[in-house]
């Protein structure tokens, strides 16, 4: 519950900060054309949209984490928490995801510099590494179930699968966009400026999304290890 409170307060502060600059205006006094932010800052609706979506995703994981921490604390129940021994493959999976993020960042840097040929194999590699990660997570479930210290009915196991599954589902959803973008990168005409610009934006968005999901995974992993 404390973390839910924290999220709420952080959110409140963020919203407040974003708006505070504007709420000092006296709109009834000023007439005429005022510069709006769009004139002074190059903005991109898809980027703003993605950040809003990432706020939603973070809220979701924050709440799952709160529920988990409440359960660990034995809130409202008499059961004593029995921690799960996390399968070691999770460390390998984490490395794979870091590599995926890294590969995607390299791809982004190259595609930003208009080097589509150089960037596309890194982009594809990021996708493949993500598939390996998801497969690794499923292997981890199997390992925890068969050779773990707790039975599948235990809450620690249930939360382990739940948290990793929700994270994996988000990555899986991202793979749809990544696949489409990869296809476009490989097919794009060198002279089609508009299409290349669109692909660039798509790659930037994918990279942001992947980095954010890596951060979330690190948070989830740390939470699981510490309880």
């Amino acid at each position: 519950m404390l973390s839910a409170l924290l999220i709420a307060m952080l959110t409140a502060i963020t919203v407040w900060w974003l708006l505070i600059q504007r709420l000092k205006d006296k709109p009834w006094m000023k007439q005429g054309v005022l510069p709006t932010r769009q004139e002074t800052v190059t903005s991109s609706a898809p980027k703003v949209g993605l950040w809003v979506f990432l706020a939603v995703v973070s809220s979701l994981f924050g709440l799952f984490a709160s529920a988990y921490m409440m359960r660990v604390a034995g809130h409202g129940g008499l059961a004593i928490w029995q921690p799960l021994d996390e399968p070691n493959i999770l460390w390998l999976n984490t490395l794979v995801l870091v590599l995926a993020s890294g590969s995607m960042q390299v791809a982004r840097n190259r595609i930003d510099a208009d080097d589509f040929r150089g960037g596309r194999s890194y982009f594809l590699a990021a996708g493949l590494l993500t598939v390996v990660f998801i497969a690794g997570q499923m292997l981890a479930w199997q390992q925890a179930r068969s050779s773990g210290n707790l039975g599948p009915g235990s809450p620690a196991y249930a939360f382990f699968v739940l948290l990793t599954a929700v994270h994996g589902l988000h990555l899986f959803g991202g793979l749809f966009v990544l696949t489409r973008t990869t296809a476009r990168i490989f097919r794009v005409d060198a002279n089609n400026v508009v299409a290349r610009s669109r692909i660039r934006t798509s790659v930037q968005l994918c990279t942001t999304y992947w980095h954010w999901l890596l951060l979330i995974w690190l948070g989830v992993f740390a939470l699981l290890l510490s309880t």
Binding site: R22, V33, Q38, G49, L63, R71, A158
Partner: protein, 581 residues
């Protein structure tokens, strides 16, 4: 470099050509808004019928044999869930949000039109899944709209096998739809405002919907978390919420779960949810009052601050729904304090609405009647909320009809007053026709007086101690026969008010076909949606050039001006419009 609006940069405006593209798979925000509105009102009528069935049972027990205790709790649950989420949230945000945001911000459409279209169809799927629960074995869930475990997933509660699963699935699908829509509303407000439209020149309708959307995007995940965990508890036997339970002398296999955890998650969503319904209503009613009193909204900046403050504070009051759950009394103290604090910006808004009307040139047309009716009913509901917000006073009132009276007044009556006011107000713009005056006024007075007749007596029987969510009361000493008579009167009032809503529907359909042709700006409003070249606005909204905004949204009765209103896109004296250059 010449300024090019975001909405003008993308030349691939999804111009529809076929009938299907224009009215079914439409990416136009106006069509999507009407689609949302129609489905929301349609499913709301289902919920209205359910409420009548409930009232028939409570008013006249032992009379209607087709209403069993099993059915009754299903009606209670489905009525509540449909009204709060599938009607109010969908209509305010999906309906009015979609229609008004691009128009009031001077944009051609939402920034993600394809996702906007998807959000409606996913919403429709969620409604179909919800209504499908009427047709599965066991019927819909009867656990109350709050769906508390463990009862809701245990034998003894209606719909514990399939109904609850469909309910939870439907909510999850709705949350996906809402997220898609919400991304649109937030990003459009932040990115696609036309030139000159600063945040502080936006009408309060947009502010209300904008902040409500942010609340929804952050609060609905809590419901999703709760729903996923409850689905797992129900299907694969996990114990997220299920404590160790004995059923007929045997352990049922679950252990260690916490029902209180569900309550925390549910109300962390549930309280912001009521503000998701209320804030758009606050914003819209400000515009209605201002336009129809020919006076600028009193204290525009404070109104914006209050909307933002209410939104932020709404995340730290949730456990005032849990005073009787057995939690630590110090939590109750904390949440009672924050609940009283949130009353302050809300009260400021009420004062400002009244002060807007003060010495205004009040036009008593139908939208204004509903707007003033909102003030009455919201104050009533808000005052009873102050009682319930205090822990010790809430202890005897919790789960009584006092609570039902309170939340219907603040959520059922006052926002619905705003909805009706808004529909009558924007009807000329959306349809090009004027609504019928006589039918509209009749509808208003029946609804306004009728809802008082329904909900005012509930406060009395609540204080008496009459509990809610009871199928029948039998004859007990503490409930006198006068309370039963009050219930009969409430039921009759409910039937009358429900019938009056048929008058509203008749008005809508009659005026659509035979209504007087509406002028472009019948109310003399300043906001941008009334300044479109065509009425109703066509695809693309603004013609070849986007509007340019020169002033705030409330230049009504400006001293020294010939007209009693100045549209937002009218340039200051001596300047020609930049939109034509």
């Amino acid at each position: 470099m010449a300024y090019v609006a975001i909405a003008d940069r993308d030349h691939h405006l999804h111009d529809p050509t076929t009938w299907i593209e224009k009215y079914v798979w439409s990416q136009d925000h106006k069509v999507i808004a009407i689609q949302y509105g129609s489905v929301a009102i349609g499913v709301g009528l289902v919920a209205l019928v359910l409420s009548l069935l409930m009232r028939l049972q409570i008013g006249f027990p032992d009379t209607f044999s087709f209403i069993t205790p099993y059915n009754y709790y299903q009606f209670v649950t489905m009525h509540g869930m449909i009204m709060v989420i599938y009607l109010l949230t969908a209509l305010f945000l999906g309906g009015f949000g979609n229609y008004l945001i691009p128009l009031m911000c001077g944009a051609r459409d939402m920034v993600f039109p394809y996702m906007n279209m998807l959000s409606f169809w996913v919403y429709l799927v969620s409604v179909i899944v919800l209504l499908a629960s009427f047709f599965v074995p066991g019927g819909p869930t009867g656990g109350g709209w709050t769906l508390y475990p463990p009862q809701t997933v245990l034998e003894g509660t209606p719909g514990h096998d399939y109904g609850i699963l469909l309910m939870l699935l439907s909510l999850a699908i709705f949350i996906v739809a809402f997220t898609m829509g919400g991304l649109n509303y937030v990003t459009t407000v932040l990115q696609a405002r036309c030139r000159g439209m600063t945040l502080m020149r936006m009408p309060l309708s947009v502010w209300g919907i904008f902040v409500a959307t942010i609340l929804g995007l952050l609060a609905f995940p809590a419901l999703l978390v709760a729903a996923i965990m409850m689905i797992l508890d129900r299907t694969i036997g996990t114990s997220f919420f299920m404590p160790a339970l004995l059923s007929l002398g045997e352990l049922n296999g679950t252990s260690g779960g916490s029902p209180i955890l569900f309550q925390h998650l549910f109300w962390f969503f549930g309280h912001p949810e009521v503000y998701i319904v209320a804030l758009p209503a606050f914003g819209i009613v400000s515009d209605l009052l201002s336009t129809h009193a020919r006076k600028n909204i009193f204290g525009y900046r404070m109104m914006v601050w209050a909307i933002v403050a209410i939104g932020a504070l709404s995340f730290i009051v949730w456990a005032h729904h849990m005073y009787v759950s057995g939690m630590n009394p110090y939590f109750g103290f904390f949440f009672a304090t924050t609940t009283l604090i949130i009353a302050i910006p809300t009260a400021i808004k009420v004062y400002n609405w009244v002060l807007t009307l003060w010495r205004g040139d009040i036009q008593l047309n139908i939208p204004n009647l509903f707007a003033i009716g909102f003030i009455f009913t919201f104050v009533h509901g808000g005052l009873t909320g102050l009682f319930l917000g205090n822990v010790t006073v809430d202890l005897p009132l919790s789960d009584t009809y006092f609570v039902i009276g309170h939340f219907h007044m603040v959520m059922g009556v006052s926002p619905v007053m705003v909805l009706f006011g808004a529909i009558y107000h924007w009807f000329p713009k959306i349809t090009g026709k004027m609504p019928n005056e006589l039918l509209g006024r009749f509808h208003f007075w029946m609804t306004f007086l009728g809802t008082y007749a329904i909900y005012l007596p509930m406060h009395y029987i609540g204080i008496l101690g009459m509990p809610r969510r009871y199928y029948a009361y039998g004859s007990t000493d503490f409930i006198p026969s006068s309370a039963h008579e009050i219930n009969q009167a409430i039921t009759i009032a409910a039937i009358v008010v429900a019938t009056a809503q048929v008058i509203f529907l008749i008005n809508v359909f009659y005026s659509l076909r035979k209504g007087k042709q509406a002028p472009d700006n019948p109310w003399g409003a300043t906001t941008l949606e009334w300044q479109t070249p065509q009425t109703p606005p066509v695809h693309g909204n603004w013609g070849p050039k986007l509007p340019v905004v020169y002033r705030w949204a409330y230049d009504y009765s400006v001293p020294g001006e010939p007209k009693d209103f100045i549209p937002q896109n009218e340039p200051p004296k001596g300047h020609h419009s930049l939109a034509s250059s």
